[in-house]
Amino acid sequence: MASLVIDNVKKRYGSVEVLKGINISIEAGEFLILVGPSGCGKSTLMNSIAGLEDVTEGRILIADNDVTYTSPKDRDIAMVFQSYALYPNMTVEQNISFGLEMRKVPKEEREAEVQRVAEMLQISHLLNRKPGQLSGGQRQRVAMGRALARRPQLYLFDEPLSNLDAKLRVEMRTEIKKLHKKLGTTIVYVTHDQIEAMTLADRIAVMKDGEVQQLGTPQEIYDNPENLFVAGFMGSPAMNFIPAKVIEQNGTPMLELATSATVALPFPKPESLAPHLGKTILLGLRPEMITEPQPHKEGQEFVITTDVEVEVTEPMGADTMILTRVNDAEINCRSNPAYPAEAGSIIKMMFDTSKAVVFDQATGERLDK
């Protein structure tokens, strides 16, 4: 287990800058997740940490040692790949012990280590099989076993679950979390699945275009997104973005909302709206903050109930998503399945802005920080 410091790392391919000065620092035992759309540089950053690609500028420190120019095998890192990259000609046992063999660990120790890892991952019965004879989930376990056997200082996971089917993905996700709790290892984990990021991470780094947009705990990122991109990227269904005009009512800046009726929406930090009076800004409101009227919330300070027209409903079992239109923007609301909402009908919905955020329409920057 070791801490990891990424200090102003830049990577250029010719004139294209893939990483534009990344600064991340994590403690020993921390679980860091890198998320972002494809092409945001997260895999490049991962390869740079592993030493598979050289960085153009900056430093990488593992356990306070500068490893920027150290070869991959001397960094004491293990990596789990999306394609698992199991050696097809070797049995599961040989796959797991290959790294130990390369490090000249004596045979008895290797065997003991393979046993330990195999039991931990419940793959003892597969040790004599070749990767070609395993299912996707089993291969995934073997790939993890190969990483665990070496007991490295740092684990890198490169989208390890994205080749599994949905059910297995959820199972393995829990298993990885348990393993991390049990072993207390430092993990850097790349994914484009924001649910994986939310559930697993101690901290999340949201990346876009070779830059870290925000680094924080899952809840911070969810509740307090730095900008429009982070807000839209995390959460499923995504946060609603409603263009709304800043108006003044009784001396307080509010947001104008035109549904079936036009209402003024209060905002927790009215002072941050004041400079934008008369202009249109983007209101960010998560679907779960727009619900059917809930009696216990009635009369609260930032809650307003108004009429909306239902466009489509999507029952999801636990909730029903109601698609409606506010200020000419399509928005998703999360309601109780028992609440009657038929497409085309006008129903009452409750808007709770206590956790709402606002962004500049042009730059996407947060306005109420």
Binding site: L52, P88, F98
Partner: protein, 294 residues
Amino acid sequence: MSNIANKRQTSGVDKILRVALYTVLLIMAAVYLLPFIVMLITSLKDVEEIRTGTLLSLPASLHFDAWAKAWSGACTGNSCGGISPYFLNSFQIVIPAVLISTLLGAINGYVISLWKFRGSDLFFAALLVGCFIPFQVILLPMARTLGLLGIANTTTGLVFVHVVYGVAFTTLFFRNFYQSIPSELVKAARLDGAGFFTIFYRIILPISTPIIVVTIIWQFTQIWNDFLFGVAFSGFDTQPVTVALNNLVNTSFGGKEYNVDMAAAIIAALPTLAVYVFAGKYFVRGLTAGAVKG
């Protein structure tokens, strides 16, 4: 579903087309097999029968004298020891040449596909040009090179020529095969602590069997059947069997012994035939393996 398939009626047109198809296939097979049949029949006749009978008439009785003579008694140029010494020469050239060119091709392909470096694509393109250079073009420069290296007219020299000429092809084969191997395999091995040759030897080579077979068959056939390099660069004692066969056919005292010529030709062709029979299915499999995965 299977019931429906069973009950499906084949129409008359279908049947006629099927018969036509097989007829065409049989004719094609005959066209390809006929020369070999004529060779075989002729090699088993005696000279008298060849003169009196037609090409396709079967021998009255089987004579194996021609085979024995071709192997160890026929005259090729000045020596009259049959083609057996040259048959061995060919093996001495082919075996090292095939093995070395295959190994070099494998390493080249490994580097070009999985250890890309700046300009590796250009390097590969340049190497590909080698596949299109006609034999004749390199005769003179190669003769000079062999002379300078002091291996003119030797078996070593011929091996050298075939390796140099073959590496372009073997590299192409291996490179294409290794393109389908995910680069993550190499990354994983590097993180596990394996080096360049360890990865090649422990991980890449063991999964290369199909392409190794393809390359060996290809190179074996090419080098065994080569005549031009053989005739240009071999010494009197190091001629390959193809050159000896030519000499045998062109050397005649008195009447032409077609039966001996035919027997010698079949003997000279046997090794390549054997390779196809034993490894042919791998050849087809290996050629298509990369294509499907692509």
